[in-house]
C-alpha cells in the first residue's frame, strides 16, 4: 500500500463485492431454480429463495432424465464427461511429454520439420474444420465411440510447447551427470525428467480437464446415441423451443451438475490452475 486513502479502499471493496455478486448471480438463480418445481419457476417472478425440491429434482435427472427432449438420465452422461475429460487430459500430457522430450533432447534429421508440424496445429481449433474432421472420423467408423470423442482432441501443440519450455530450463548438468553414470535416454527421462515435471503436469491436467469436460461442438457432432451424450450436450437436448415447455427445474439441476466438477477443480486446485493458465499462453 502506497498511501492510506480510506475512501479509495472502500471503493475498491465496494467494486469487488459488486463484481462478485454480478458474477455469482446467474449461479445463484440456477441453484434456486434447481430446488423448485416447474410450476414455481413459471410463476413470474420466480422466488429467489431456495425451495424444498432439491433432492427430487437431482434424483430425477440423475436416474431418469427429463421427460421432454432427450429423456436420458444424466448419471451416465456425467460418467461420459468424466471419461472424456480424463482421457483427453492424460492423453495430451502423455503424448506431448514424450514428443517434447524427443525434440529437446535429441538431434535427428527432420527435427525442425516435426516441430513445425506440431506448431501449426496450434492455429486450427476444431471449430474451423468442422465438416472435414467429422467426415474423417465417420469414415474411420468412430461415431459414437469414446475413441472418436477423445482422440481427435488429444493432438494439441499447447502441451508440447509447455513441456518444451520447461525442459529447456532444466540444467544441462543433470543430463550430463546421468550420461556419465551410464543412464540411457529412457532411464534419464523416467528417473529425472518425469519427477521434475510433476508440477507442470498437474497444472496442465487442471487446464485440460476443464477443456475436455466443457467440449461442446465435437460431442454434438460425434454422439447421436443417448448413451454417449456428455452432460453439456444433455442440457442442450433438454431445452425445447418455447420457455414454458422446457422443464427448467431439471435443466437447471443438470446445469448445476455440469458445472460442479470443473468449478470444484478450479477452486480446489487454484494454485495449479493459475500456473497452468499463465504458462500455457506463454
Amino acid at each position: 500500500m502506497i498511501e492510506n486513502r480510506p475512501w479509495l479502499t472502500f471503493i475498491a471493496h465496494a467494486t469487488l463485492i459488486l463484481g462478485v455478486i454480478v458474477v455469482a448471480f446467474p449461479l445463484y438463480v440456477t441453484f434456486v431454480a434447481s430446488t423448485l418445481t416447474l410450476e414455481e419457476i413459471i410463476e413470474v417472478p420466480m422466488s429467489l429463495l431456495p425451495g424444498s425440491h432439491m433432492l427430487e429434482n437431482y434424483t430425477q435427472v440423475l436416474t431418469a432424465g427429463a421427460a421432454s427432449g432427450a429423456g436420458a438420465p444424466v448419471g451416465p452422461m456425467m460418467l461420459n464427461s468424466l471419461i472424456m475429460a480424463v482421457v483427453i487430459a492424460v492423453g495430451k500430457i502423455s503424448i506431448s511429454i514424450i514428443a517434447s522430450f524427443a525434440i529437446v533432447y535429441f538431434r535427428f534429421p527432420l527435427r525442425n520439420f516435426f516441430f513445425w508440424m506440431i506448431f501449426v496445429t496450434l492455429m486450427l481449433p476444431v471449430e474451423v474444420r468442422i465438416f472435414p474432421t467429422y467426415k474423417v472420423v465417420s469414415d474411420l467408423g468412430m461415431i459414437n465411440t469414446y475413441v472418436g470423442l477423445t482422440l481427435p482432441l488429444i493432438a494439441s501443440a499447447t502441451a508440447t510447447f509447455l513441456f518444451r519450455q520447461f525442459f529447456l530450463t532444466v540444467p544441462d548438468e543433470l543430463a550430463e551427470a546421468a550420461r556419465i553414470d551410464g543412464a540411457g535416454p529412457l532411464r534419464f527421462f523416467k528417473d529425472i525428467l518425469l519427477p521434475l515435471s510433476k508440477t507442470s503436469m498437474a497444472a496442465l491436467f487442471v487446464i485440460q480437464f476443464i477443456y475436455g469436460w466443457n467440449q461442446y461442438l465435437w460431442p454434438l457432432l460425434i454422439t447421436t446415441d443417448e448413451n454417449m451424450y456428455t452432460t453439456v450436450i444433455g442440457i442442450k437436448r433438454m431445452i425445447t423451443s418455447g420457455d414454458a415447455l422446457t422443464e427448467w427445474h431439471l435443466v437447471m439441476s443438470t446445469a448445476m451438475l455440469a458445472m460442479l466438477p470443473p468449478v470444484a477443480v478450479v477452486v480446489l486446485m487454484q494454485r495449479w490452475f493459475v500456473k497452468g493458465l499463465v504458462e500455457t499462453e506463454k
Binding site: A12, V20, F106, G184, I210
Partner: protein, 293 residues
C-alpha cells in the same frame, strides 16, 4: 534455444514423436487439406457428383449478402466481447490489486466462471433473460423495457455478448492481476511522492506498463469470440433471430452440417483458417516483443 547435451539414437526420437505426429496427421492435416480441397469443388444435393469449380465457391460467398452480414455480425460481436471483457476485468483487477484484506477470497470468487462451459453459460443467461419467465426480463418489463431476444436481433446480440463476457472475465482478470503485480512498486511510490494521485498514476504509469498484457488479451479475446463462443450461440439464439447473431463459425457449421452445402462450408472453413493464422502471427510477433520488454 538449444540443449548443449543431447542423446543419440537412430530410432528412439521417431518412436517418441510417432503418437503425436500420427494424431496430428489424421485429425489435423488430412481434414484441413480436405477443407481446402472441397472448397474448390461443387457437390450436387445428394453428394453423388462433384465438380471442380476453382474459386467459384469463394466468389459465391463474397457475392452473398448473408455471408457479408455474418462477417459484420462477427466483427461487432467480437469487438463488443473483447472490449467489455477487458474493461470490466481491468477495473476489477486494479481494485483487487489495491485491497489487502480478503484479496484471495475475491480472487477465488471471481475466477470460477472460467470452469463453466460456454454452452452452460449460454443456458444460464438465457434463463435469466427468458422472454416469458426470466427474472431479469421481469425487472426490465417493470421498468418499461420490452424485452424479447427471441424476436429482437439487437437484444439477442446483447444476450450472447453478456454470456460470453461473463465467462471470459475471470481469464482476463487473472492476467491483469499478474501484470499489475509485476509492476515495480518503486515506480508507483516515486510518482506518489511527486504528488501524483491514484487516477493520474493509473493513466500515466500503470496503464502504459500493462499495454502488452492488454494487447495479448485483445488477441485472445477476439479468438475466443470467433470460435469458443460457438457453444453460447448454439445453446441460446442458434444464430437467430434472422441471422442477427450468426457469427462466421456458426454459419460454417450450419451450412455444412444442417444445410449440407459442403462446398460453401469448406470455403468458409478455409477463410476461417486464414483468419486464425493471421491472428496467430500477430500474437507471436507480439510475444517476441514482450521478451525484450
Amino acid at each position: 534455444m538449444e540443449k548443449r547435451v543431447f542423446f543419440r539414437s537412430a530410432w528412439l526420437p521417431y518412436a517418441l514423436l510417432a503418437p503425436q505426429i500420427a494424431v496430428t496427421l489424421i485429425f489435423f492435416f488430412w481434414p484441413a487439406g480436405q477443407a481446402v480441397w472441397l472448397s474448390f469443388q461443387l457437390q450436387d444435393a445428394f453428394g453423388l457428383k462433384t465438380q471442380f469449380v476453382g474459386l467459384a465457391n469463394f466468389a459465391a460467398l463474397f457475392a452473398d449478402s448473408h455471408y457479408l452480414d455474418s462477417f459484420k455480425t462477427t466483427a461487432i460481436f467480437s469487438v463488443l466481447v473483447a472490449v467489455a471483457g477487458i474493461a470490466i476485468a481491468l477495473l476489477l483487477a486494479v481494485m483487487a490489486d489495491r485491497v489487502v484484506k480478503g484479496a484471495l477470497a475475491y480472487k477465488t470468487l471471481l475466477i470460477w466462471p472460467y470452469a463453466v462451459a460456454p454452452a452452460v453459460a449460454g443456458v444460464l443467461w438465457a434463463f435469466l433473460f427468458a422472454p416469458s419467465i426470466g427474472i431479469i426480463t421481469y425487472v426490465l418489463k417493470k421498468n418499461g423495457i420490452d424485452w424479447n431476444w427471441v424476436l429482437k436481433g439487437d437484444q439477442a446480440m446483447l444476450l450472447v455478448v453478456i454470456a460470453s463476457v461473463w465467462k471470459q472475465i475471470s481469464y482476463n482478470f487473472l492476467f491483469f492481476l499478474a501484470g499489475l503485480q509485476s509492476i515495480p512498486r518503486s515506480l508507483i511510490e516515486a510518482a506518489a511522492i511527486d504528488g501524483a494521485g491514484p487516477g493520474r498514476r493509473f493513466w500515466t504509469i500503470i496503464f502504459p506498463l500493462l499495454s502488452p498484457t492488454t494487447f495479448f488479451l485483445m488477441v485472445i479475446n477476439i479468438v475466443y469470440a470467433f470460435f469458443d463462443t460457438f457453444g453460447v450461440i448454439d445453446a441460446t439464439t442458434q444464430g437467430g433471430p434472422a441471422g442477427a447473431t450468426q457469427i462466421l463459425v456458426y454459419k460454417a457449421y450450419y451450412d455444412g452440417m444442417k444445410a449440407a452445402d459442403i462446398g460453401s462450408s469448406s470455403a468458409q472453413s478455409a477463410i476461417l483458417m486464414l483468419i486464425v493464422i493471421s491472428l496467430t502471427v500477430v500474437q507471436f510477433r507480439f510475444v517476441e516483443r514482450k521478451v525484450q520488454y
